[in-house]
């Protein structure tokens, strides 16, 4: 059984007992424990079930590479699935549950899949569930979705907050092990700003556990000294619990800081996403131990050798009383020694190698009285939910059992792989190292910056160095080089002198025993999380999946939350063997950020709740809200759709407001419409290019409606242009078009017409603009007083500056409703006061505010187009009958050339008409008019579509506009629009101008 030892525990605070629960059972641990170490201390070796076969799964590792010990953490508001127990720091009150089992962890019905494993080979789902087709959607997919998947999705709203932080530094060191700290020191003495990120809560990485000396002192003491030296340097920042998640172009690195995962009672954000710009990046990310592939290597109790000694030394936890070590390298001997020192039994070390002479570690182990079997391996592991022993065989054979040895833990080591993830994210290349059977960074092919120089350097074991002397030498050199790359003169400081035992060469072992038959191979796991076995990868190769990327997706090797941290190298070695090619030729799958999963909350940062998205508010926004406005989003703005009164439906409010504008007086908050000042000697020439019609001939004091097309001829915006003086224009845009059109103008001015004398400025928000509309509009302004707004003084399509009721303003006599209408711009800061004044003078004139829906109906009654309704990016002015706005006098304007193209000039393009249902009903918006016959795809032919449709209270019937084939030539003809409601609407083609076709009402 696994248990807590009475003494020791480098990271434990035994004075601080900590209570937590696992699957509802109350358990005890200590401060400093991880959830994994605390579970092991409580003899919880079985912690989950595998993805496909629901096999029992135990803790394998002690760090980020853990594939099995994934748990649900927290409850309502803090629930989070798929959290690695090995990287979860224990805190008082932690609640955790295991995943992927039903009905219970101990007894799982899905484990039947394991018995059926023969029938569920690689690509099983692809092969099995493809026919018959309809079953996929209705039977297979729901079933698989229910059965598969590890954690559950959170149901409650996340109770925590998150944030981003933009940090800049000269040298960023990712990894706070002995290599990272040494590199940081070497860089920092130059005076460079150095930021060091360490993903765990502790500094020093593996060094304090693995031992060795630096300058004659034990390495753990040296870590402490280095830390205190770095802490005292003002140019160094040290951050624990912060993982380097990804490396991107231009020295951009994401760091993932977990602020409160270990202290949920603290205030502040839970996670912080560091968005770092570093001049140079050092990846001192260490190395990960590889498992060995032997039958039963997934049975709980089979662990990485390094993890076994981590639990003993760091947490004083014995994973088992009797530990069999199986290895292909010297490093695992350290585990045997650690167990022995803790008073635990190591019945045997099975070493697949047959070395000519004993290395120092081998000699030390033998001296300690541990039995060592060279050239041997594990034929299979005995046990079901827990290891009970191993069957020993010769590595060179086919698995004939020589003896069975009882044990409850198997500590395996297949060698080490440098963590090359961050090095690779931005294009760093890898080399195959035959001596250590691993991929290591190819330092001659580093990720390069804009200047073509390397901006990432790997250091220490992340660079494929394993002896302490080599690690420290490399890290020191990389630190100095990074400082120089960041523009600093490296300081004079001596490289630390590391010493560790010389190790015998490792031997690559990709399958144990090497001649294992199919029975053993189909129990030899490569990927614990996704249930991929040696036999699966071999089958994939047989079936032709030669590319490692294809084999990954076909077998699911290296997918899901651990992204193959343990399985990748073993899997591609098996694949290479099956393809009979060397490993470097097979290559690796792509390393993509993040290094381990980061929370969605951290990615979203502050953007949630009130600040999820900016909501733009006009100066009168609060008034609208207080007066019952039903808002609709228009871009980022919120505009009143209508102002329903108490007991009134939104529809009724729209009808009332629409009628009132035609009968009395309406006020519209038009502040959101874009206003762009265009000034300069070439302003007229510029606007002639931007608008399809002529603007340069406009006289100061006058307004003109204009259309804008893009280079491709399609309509992009419209609005009224006012000429302010000889070289100044004010261009109104649509609400959504203000920023876009401003950018469009700047782009042309900066890239094409850079020598034209034109300046533009977006002054949209300088003004609150109110449309005062209706037969009583003039009376209202006269009541405010201060300006002659008579027909004679201010004609239709004219503007004037002045004051109204004491407000400095500009009054435009323009109309989007067909009524007598003024649009009045005042300073935004006075917008609310001006609106209030209008409401006061309007009181006796029947004033009502009206919203955007009434605005739409009023313009539709007049046949005025709306950008975004009548246009959708594929519509040209000719489609809308706006030929009059296409100047024939101008040599050129944006879109002119495009309009000459054959498809643009095609007479069969659908054209704008009015549509009137035969029974007064309202056509469904967006409905299509059907024609006879079917097209080449067997679909019904179409002859038009509805672009706008409303019920007009003024005409008391449904009115619509639409684009119809040969529409203007078919006046009076009836066409049919099937709706999605099952009804078919008959509509007559009519003029789009339903109301006051002579335009008398607006010109009074």
């Amino acid at each position: 059984m696994s248990t807590r030892l009475t003494t020791g525990g480098r990271l434990l605070n035994r004075d601080a007992p900590t209570r937590f629960t696992f699957n509802g059972t109350p358990l005890k641990g200590f401060e400093g424990d991880t959830l994994a170490s605390a579970l092991l201390a409580n003899d919880h070796v079985l912690v989950g079930r595998s993805f496909k076969y629901h096999r029992p799964r135990g803790i394998v590792a002690s760090g980020v590479e853990e594939p099995n010990a994934l748990v649900n953490l927290g409850g309502e508001g803090t629930f989070e699935p798929n959290q690695r127990a090995t990287t979860t720091e224990l805190f008082d009150g932690l609640t955790s549950t295991s995943q992927n089992h039903w009905p219970s962890l101990e007894f799982d019905v899905g484990a039947i899949n394991s018995k059926l494993a023969r029938f569920m080979p690689a690509g099983f789902y692809y092969k099995m569930f493809i026919h018959p087709r309809p079953l996929w959607k209705h039977v297979y997919e729901p079933f698989i979705r229910h059965a598969a998947g590890l954690g559950q999705a959170p149901k409650g709203r996340d109770a925590d907050t998150y944030e981003h932080f933009h940090a800049f530094c000269d040298v960023l060191v990712v990894g706070g092990g002995i290599a990272g700290l040494t590199a940081a020191r070497a860089a920092a003495v130059s005076g460079a700003d150095v930021l060091v990120l360490e993903q765990t809560a502790h500094w020093g990485g593996r060094a304090p556990v693995d031992g060795g000396t630096v300058n004659g002192a034990p390495v753990d003491k040296v870590v402490d000294e280095l830390l205190s030296e770095l802490s005292d340097m003002e140019n160094v920042t040290l951050r624990t619990r912060t993982m380097g998640a990804g490396v991107y172009d231009h020295g951009y690195v994401l760091g993932y800081e977990r602020l409160r995962d270990h202290a949920p009672a603290a205030q502040g954000p839970r996670h912080r996403l560091w968005r770092i710009r570093a001049k140079h990046v050092i990846t001192a990310t260490g190395a990960l131990e590889r498992p060995l592939s032997f039958a039963g290597n997934d049975i709980p109790g089979v662990m990485l050798a390094s993890a076994v000694r981590d639990y003993v030394i760091n947490f004083s936890v014995s994973p088992g009383d009797r530990t069999v070590v199986v290895t292909n390298n010297d490093d695992a001997y350290r585990t045997a020694l650690a167990m022995k020192q803790a008073g635990l039994s190591v019945p045997v070390i099975l070493d697949a190698r047959v070395p000519p002479a004993d290395s120092p570690l081998m000699a030390e182990v033998k001296e300690a009285g541990i039995r060592v079997l060279m050239g041997h391996g594990v034929a299979r592991v005995l046990g079901g939910k827990r290891v009970t022993g191993v069957a020993v065989c010769a590595q060179a054979g086919e698995g004939a059992v020589l003896e069975e040895i009882a044990c409850d833990t198997v500590a395996m080591s297949g060698g080490w792989s440098p963590v090359v993830h961050l090095w690779s994210h931005c294009g760093g290349k890898l080399l195959w190292d035959n001596d250590f059977a691993m991929f290591r960074p190819d330092v001659d092919k580093a990720p390069t910056g804009a200047d073509g120089r390397a901006f990432v350097s790997p250091a220490g074991s992340a660079n494929g160095h394993f002896g302490l002397a080599e690690i420290l030498g490399d890290a020191h050199a990389k630190g100095r080089a990074a400082a120089r790359a960041a523009g600093f003169e490296p300081g004079k400081v001596k490289a630390p002198d590391g010493e560790s035992p010389t190790e015998a060469p490792m031997a690559p072992v990709w399958l144990m025993p090497q001649g294992a038959g199919i029975a053993l191979r189909s129990k030899a796991w490569l990927d614990y999380q996704n249930d991929v076995k040696v036999s699966d990868v071999q089958l994939a190769a047989q079936e032709g999946f030669e590319s490692v990327e294809h084999a990954k997706r076909y077998t699911t090797l290296g997918m899901a939350t651990d992204q193959g941290k343990l399985s990748n190298i073993n899997g591609l070695a098996i694949l290479s063997d099956a393809l009979d090619q060397p490993i470097p030729q097979t290559g690796t799958t792509t390393f993509r950020p993040p290094y381990t999963p980061i929370s969605m909350g951290a990615i979203g940062g502050e953007a949630r709740g009130e600040v999820f998205q900016p909501i733009r508010r006009t100066p009168m926004h609060d008034w609208h809200a207080e007066n019952g406005a039903d808002f609709e989003p228009v871009g980022q703005w919120r505009r009143p759709y209508a102002y329903p009164r108490s007991g009134e439906s939104v529809h009724d409010a729209v009808m009332r407001e629409t009628r009132n504008v035609r009968e009395n007086l309406g006020l519209l908050d038009a502040s959101t419409l874009g206003k762009i000042v265009v000034k300069g000697a070439d302003a007229g020439r510029f606007l002639d290019m931007l608008y399809t019609n002529m603007m340069s001939t406009l006289k100061p004091g006058k307004c003109r409606y204009g259309l804008m097309c893009g280079e491709n001829g399609f309509l992009i915006d419209d609005g009224v242009v006012a000429r302010i003086d000889d070289d100044t224009f004010l261009c109104h845009t649509t609400t959504g078009g203000a920023e876009r059109i401003h950018g469009h103008m700047e782009e042309w001015l900066q890239t094409e017409w850079w020598d034209w004398k034109v300046h533009v400025a977006n002054v949209t928000e300088q003004y609150a603009q109110v449309a005062v509309v209706g037969p009583n509009a003039r009376k209202a302004l006269e009541a405010l007083g201060g300006l002659d707004v008579s027909r004679e003084a201010l004609g239709f399509m004219e503007w004037v500056d002045g004051t109204l009721g004491g407000f400095a303003c500009r009054v435009y006599r323009i109309s989007f409703s067909g009524e007598l209408s003024y649009e009045i711009a005042v300073r935004a800061s006075e917008g609310q006061a001006f609106w209030d004044a209008l409401m006061v003078v309007g009181d006796t004139l029947g004033v009502m505010p009206y919203g955007t829906e009434a605005l739409h109906i009023l313009r539709a009654e007049k046949g005025f187009i709306m950008i975004g309704d009548e246009t959708d990016g594929t519509v040209i002015p000719q489609d809308l009958g706006l030929h009059w706005a296409l100047s024939k006098k101008k040599d050129d304007y944006l879109g002119k050339r495009a309009h000459l193209r054959s498809h643009m000039a095609d007479p069969t393009r659908w054209k704008l008409v009015g549509l009137e249902t035969t029974d007064g009903a309202t056509l469904p918006d967006g409905a299509y008019a059907v024609a006879d016959g079917v097209n080449e795809n067997g679909q019904r032919n179409m002859q038009g579509r509805v672009t706008s449709s409303y019920h007009s209270p003024n005409l008391n019937k449904g009115i619509a506009m639409g684009l119809v084939l040969n529409g203007p030539d078919r006046m009076g003809e009836e066409i049919a629009f099937p709706g999605t409601d099952g009804k078919t609407y008959a509509a007559r083609i009519v003029s789009a101008v339903f109301y006051d076709p002579e335009g008398k009402k607006q010109d009074v």
């Binding site: 907050t161 944030e163 981003h164 932080f165 933009h166 940090a167 800049f168 700003d193 920042t237 603290a266 205030q267 502040g268 954000p269 912080r272 968005r275 710009r277 940062g605 502050e606 953007a607 009130e610 600040v611 998205q613 900016p614 909501i615 733009r616 508010r617 006009t618 100066p619 703005w637 000042v677 000034k679 300069g680 000697a681 004398k757 300046h759 533009v760 400025a761 002054v763 949209t764 928000e765 300088q766 003004y767 004491g806 407000f807 300073r827 935004a828 800061s829 006075e830 609310q832 006061a833 001006f834």
Partner: protein, 189 residues
């Protein structure tokens, strides 16, 4: 007349690692033109009574100031009540020169972010290097803060002045409060 009100009517908040205050209305004039031309320089410096700022800088004194916005744009600051007069003077100085001077005082909202955590707050929201050695009093950045355009500069007392579009005032205020929440000090500066 007292009809003019700032977007949030001077809202203030100080329950976290920094104090956030909406500043009173501030006169702001956008001046676009050739920043090396005599007329443009004279118009700007005459209006503010201050020297032309170098790239990325803001020279401010009281309510007056000139902020560098782009290679062809500066923002001239003056008292809100003086905008009309200042603009008239600038137009006179500019004469026929190719330039655009326009009042944008009401198009903007301005906030002050002060206190120990002010740099933290700015660094959380803007992709700007605000390390003390990199961002000093008198410096100016036209940038974004979270999802909206913004610009900010720092005064001698370490207070950041943030400007954004008026319509985004509430968003900016809420954003600054979130970034300044208790317990969120970063400890990087």
């Amino acid at each position: 007349m007292s009809k003019a009100v700032s977007a949030l009517n001077g809202a203030t908040w100080s329950d976290g690692i920094a104090t956030v205050t909406e500043a009173p209305l501030q006169g702001m004039i956008t001046l676009r033109g050739d920043l090396t031309s005599r007329a443009v320089i004279k118009a700007a410096t005459g209006a503010a009574g201050l020297k032309m700022p170098a790239q990325g800088m803001a020279g401010c004194e009281g309510e007056r100031g000139i902020c560098w916005m782009s290679p062809d744009e500066v923002l001239v600051l003056c008292a809100y009540g003086d905008v009309t007069g200042t603009l008239e003077k600038m137009h006179k100085v500019l004469g026929d020169a190719h330039a655009l001077a326009v009042d944008v005082s009401d198009a903007r909202a301005m906030f002050r972010v002060a206190g120990k955590g002010a740099r933290d707050v700015m660094a959380k929201l803007a992709p700007v290097d605000v390390r003390p050695a990199a961002f000093e009093a008198g410096m100016f950045r036209r940038t974004r803060m979270a999802q909206v355009p913004a610009a900010f500069w720092m005064r001698e007392d370490g207070t950041f002045h943030v400007i954004c579009f008026r319509s985004n005032a509430q968003y900016m205020f809420d954003l600054l409060k979130v970034a300044a929440q208790t317990g969120s000090g970063v400890g990087y500066f």
